[in-house]
């Protein structure tokens, strides 16, 4: 399809797709991990001052 240099062209696009894909997966995984840790901490009774303020308000 791309002539004698197909391996260079396909290789370039594959590397870009792989690295961008890895970035997206890493960011999505990190978001889930941070959210899960926050929920664990809050469930154990540790809350931020701003969150305490909200629950304590009449």
């Amino acid at each position: 399809m791309f002539g004698p240099y197909a391996s260079f062209i396909v290789g370039s696009y594959a590397v870009v797709a792989g690295v961008i894909g890895a970035l997206i997966v890493w960011i999505a995984w990190d978001h889930r991990r941070q959210n899960a840790t926050l929920r664990e901490l809050e469930a154990s009774g540790v809350t931020r001052r701003s969150a305490r303020g909200k629950t304590a308000a009449p």
């Binding site: 870009v16 961008i20 970035l23 960011i27 978001h31 941070q34 840790t37 901490l41």
Partner: protein
């Protein structure tokens, strides 16, 4: 919502939650159009089909410098205005900038082999971009190695501003020195040297990669804010345990 309200991380997070799906959609659509245009562009009379590598190499090269520019603005935000999100922005952008710079180097190398007969040459453009990549890695290492976040933020901000000197060196290296790398073809005096058959797909890919960066940057900033909340809660937990 006033811009100053975004200094509040909670409000910023709410805005990011609303924006991210739309940004991701815009990125996917623009990228799909750009890829279709890039892959159906004609072969170059000299470079043949390898010109297709340009459509991914150039946007990554643009972003490698643009991201450092964003981090430099964030560094000013940290040092001058002490904006609460400035260091978050810089820290979230660094791995993205490192990835785009890595991709610019790898795709450039894969383009160079069939066109120049070599994967690598220590010319001014390639060497200055490699220096940029090493600086990204150095900054990431700095943030990880300094335990006090405010000290790490100030040190990283100073290093970022010093490193910004490399940006004009990269941009003008092809004019100042005799390099194997070709001179600028798009952002140059006298207008782009590319035919529209190549320029239009390239610009669409440039917009697509810029949207990709904005999307990933906002998502990574959201993660960084959550990470800092986790850290402060753990410190509170440790303090309660010690009391």
């Amino acid at each position: 919502m006033a811009v100053i309200d975004l200094a509040n991380p909670t409000r910023f997070l709410k805005l990011v939650e609303r924006l991210l799906p739309w940004l991701a959609l815009a990125t996917a659509v623009t990228l799909a159009i750009g890829l279709q245009q890039a892959l159906s562009a004609p072969d170059d009379y000299q470079q043949g089909a390898t010109v297709k590598i340009m459509f991914i190499h150039v946007p990554n090269a643009w972003l490698s410098m643009f991201v450092w520019g964003v981090m430099s603005l964030s560094a000013l935000g940290t040092l001058v205005w002490r904006h609460p999100l400035a260091d978050v922005s810089a820290q979230a952008a660094a791995p993205l900038g490192a990835a785009f710079t890595f991709l610019a180097l790898v795709t450039g190398s894969l383009w160079g082999r069939p066109m120049w007969g070599t994967y690598w040459e220590w010319d001014a453009r390639m060497t200055s971009v490699l220096v940029l990549f090493v600086m990204y890695l150095g900054l990431i290492a700095l943030w990880r190695s300094v335990e006090d976040p405010s000290r790490a933020a100030r040190a990283a901000a100073v290093l970022t501003l010093v490193g910004a000197i490399n940006l004009p060196i990269i941009k003008f290296s092809v004019d100042w020195w005799n390099t194997l790398h070709q001179p600028a073809s798009v952002l140059r005096a006298g207008g782009p040297a590319l035919d529209n058959a190549f320029l239009i797909p390239l610009l669409i890919m440039g917009v697509a990669f810029s949207l990709l960066f904005v999307t990933l940057h906002l998502a990574a900033m959201r993660n960084e804010i959550l990470r800092r909340r986790v850290r402060s809660l753990r410190m509170m937990q440790a303090a309660q345990g010690a009391a």
